[in-house]
């Protein structure tokens, strides 16, 4: 088991390394000079050469690559053109917000999805199942940001129950007591997390319904009943324990979705996370931020998959590599 874990971690590290190399190549294979603004005013070639020398861009590619890796290792991700801050600092401010949003959305996704899926399976093919089936199909097919806009319209504009955007109230927040600040944060988190969470939950519910139905038809469920076990134990212990296994896989697979959703949803709700940071940076041609955000996102995805693999090995004894 330990050997397997080491191998998995090493593989994950290799993937991150490959992503880093890929971004470097992309950076240097892209047309145009990276440091010039996207204007059409012609620049004196002598200036260009001097700037290239200043940025170290005239060195041979392998040397630049080595310098790039060293800088990364030290956490130096470059300087943002537009924000005039180190990229690492900008990311460090933004990532916690994205994690909060993604975490809340994931919790909602898994819990609601699980509940719905199990409920649907328990009432398979009857009206509640059919109705929920169409509902989940719809929610799974809507553009996440569009759903966000709708929720914004209904709950923030028309009903005024939730704020229109941002992570905290700009005026009042600082003067609130500890509990009030927490509540303020939650209040602002609600709509964006609901948006991402509902779309995710719809997909999870569809998946989970199929998983439960498949397990319920299994012979070992019949054996459990034949042993005279109470129905509740049959469902909760025997059935669910097996039906939850796919949920672990889903957990791992949902990281890319959450990060993608973050980019769009954060823009809708003006949520200052790394998605919004990257989206805004594009307009300013501030690619160091975009690249750094992409690398950060990859690291999260890889870590998520690793975590999912470990959890799955813990949950399913058939997967565990036994040392016997």
């Amino acid at each position: 088991m330990a050997a397997w874990l080491v191998r998995r971690v090493a593989a994950s590290g290799a993937i991150v390394f490959a992503v880093v190399t890929f971004t470097f190549l992309l950076l240097h294979l892209a047309p145009g000079e990276p440091f010039l603004p996207s204007g059409d005013t012609p620049v004196d070639p002598a200036v260009v050469t001097e700037l290239r020398r200043q940025f170290g861009l005239d060195a041979p590619l392998p040397v630049q690559y080595a310098k790039y890796l060293v800088a990364l290792a030290h956490g130096r991700l470059g300087e943002s053109f537009a924000l005039h801050r180190p990229v690492a600092a900008a990311l460090a401010d933004a990532i916690p917000n994205t994690l909060a949003l993604a975490g809340a959305a994931l919790a909602l996704d898994l819990l609601l999805g699980l509940a719905l899926g199990v409920y649907q399976a328990a009432h398979a093919r009857r009206l509640p199942d059919v109705g929920l089936g169409y509902a989940t199909l719809f929610l799974n097919s809507v553009p996440t940001f569009w759903l966000g806009l709708l929720l914004l319209l209904v709950f923030a504009e028309w009903l005024g129950w939730f704020p229109v955007g941002g992570v905290v109230d700009p005026v009042v927040h600082a003067s609130l007591p500890w509990a009030g600040r927490a509540a303020d944060r939650l209040w602002h988190l609600a709509l964006p997390a609901l948006t991402l969470g509902c779309v995710g939950a719809a997909g999870t519910a569809r998946y989970q319904r199929a998983a439960v139905l498949e397990v319920v038809g299994q012979d070992y469920v019949r054996t459990a009943r034949a042993k005279g076990l109470p129905e509740r134990r049959v469902l909760l212990v025997h059935t669910l324990r097996n039906a939850l296994l796919p949920l672990v896989t889903l957990f791992g697979l949902s990281f890319p979705f959450l990060l993608t959703g973050a980019v769009l949803v954060e823009s809708v709700f003006a949520w200052p996370g790394m998605g919004k940071l990257a989206a805004d940076a594009i307009f300013r041609r501030d690619y160091p931020i975009v690249l750094a955000a992409a690398i950060a996102a990859s690291v999260m995805v890889v870590l998520g998959n690793l975590l999912a693999d470990v959890l799955y090995a813990v949950a399913d004894p058939r997967i565990r590599v036994h040392d016997q």
Partner: protein, 308 residues
């Protein structure tokens, strides 16, 4: 809406009904057909897809106005739905229904083209990796691992950030090139099982070489998961295109796409919500239809999977 457009719309509806009816009549009785139509959403999905394709093809007839036509600038700005403008007008005084219709051409084509690229590349890579194995397989699958590690939108954001002026055609190609990873794994898994089958050995004994075996013998048998992948893939591309357009990075105005229509509408969400709502509903309907049809196809192709 004028009379001609209304009739054309009716025509599209009838055509869609006819097509679904025909498919049901011809393919329905077969075992696969019965499995397909066992899902009620499948028939609906087919109807919706045919309807939208018909609308997209017949755009000049179904849309009473051109997509960039600005009508009376002041009087018709941001008008709610009415008889003349069934889906209202937007902030530039353009008829939303007409833009939706022309937008269907853009969004559906982007979806189909990008998916085509993705599925082709994915199928070829997966088939080669699964059949040849050895270092080729390892190398390709590491590449797939990297591709799957970076969320698709970030890959596209990077490309857009680094290329200053990205023509739409190139963007569509890039969308396709960022979406083949999953398909390749699927195809590879199928090919790994298929290559042990006797018909492959027979082909090899008859003197067929690698590429010939891959393309003529193995790939046709992998058609089923590829088709399902494709159906679901179009939906993903459409959602992605909508997202990019919403960020201002996709289809450039004034050419309408469902995504940039939502973007335009977002600014006046409170005053003219219909400009945002209708394009989103259109996307949701088409993606729903694709998901439903994709799920039903998966069941139809593989009788062993008892998806209740």
């Amino acid at each position: 809406m004028n009379a001609r457009a209304a009739f054309a719309l009716l025509g599209a509806v009838l055509l869609a009904l006819f097509v679904v009816g025909e498919v049901r009549r011809r393919a329905g009785p077969s075992a696969a057909g019965r499995r397909f139509f066992r899902h009620p959403p499948a028939a609906w999905g087919m109807f919706i897809l045919t309807f939208f394709v018909a609308v997209a093809l017949a755009a000049p007839w179904v849309a009473p106005y051109g997509p960039s036509i600005t009508l009376e600038i002041v009087a018709l700005k941001n008008q709610p739905p009415s008889l003349l403008h069934p889906l209202g007008t937007d902030l530039y005084s353009r008829d939303v229904w007409s833009r939706l219709v022309y937008g269907s051409r853009v969004s559906l084509s982007i979806g189909a083209l990008a998916m085509l690229v993705a599925v082709t590349v994915g199928a070829v890579v997966g088939a080669v990796a699964g059949y040849v194995r050895r270092w080729v397989d390892t190398a390709l699958m590491r590449l797939v691992d990297v591709g799957l590690a970076v969320p698709r939108i970030f890959l596209l954001l990077m490309a857009i950030a680094l290329w200053e002026h990205l023509p739409l055609a190139l963007l569509v190609l890039l969308i396709g090139l960022t979406g083949w990873f999953g398909t390749s794994r699927l195809v590879r898994a199928e090919v790994l099982t298929l290559r042990e089958r006797d018909f492959v050995a027979a082909a090899r004994a008859a003197g067929a070489g690698g590429p010939r075996i891959i393309f003529r013998h193995v790939l046709p048998n992998v058609a089923a998961p590829i088709i399902v992948s494709a159906a679901l893939g179009i939906g993903n591309v459409m959602l992605l295109e909508a997202g990019l357009s919403f960020l201002g990075l996709g289809v450039p105005p004034p050419m309408p796409s469902w995504g940039n229509m939502i973007a335009d509408g977002a600014a006046q969400l409170a005053t003219a919500p219909w400009t945002t709502v209708f394009p989103g509903v259109a996307i949701a309907l088409v993606v729903m239809a694709l998901n439903a049809v994709g799920d039903a196809l998966r069941d139809a192709f593989d009788p062993r999977r008892a998806t209740a």
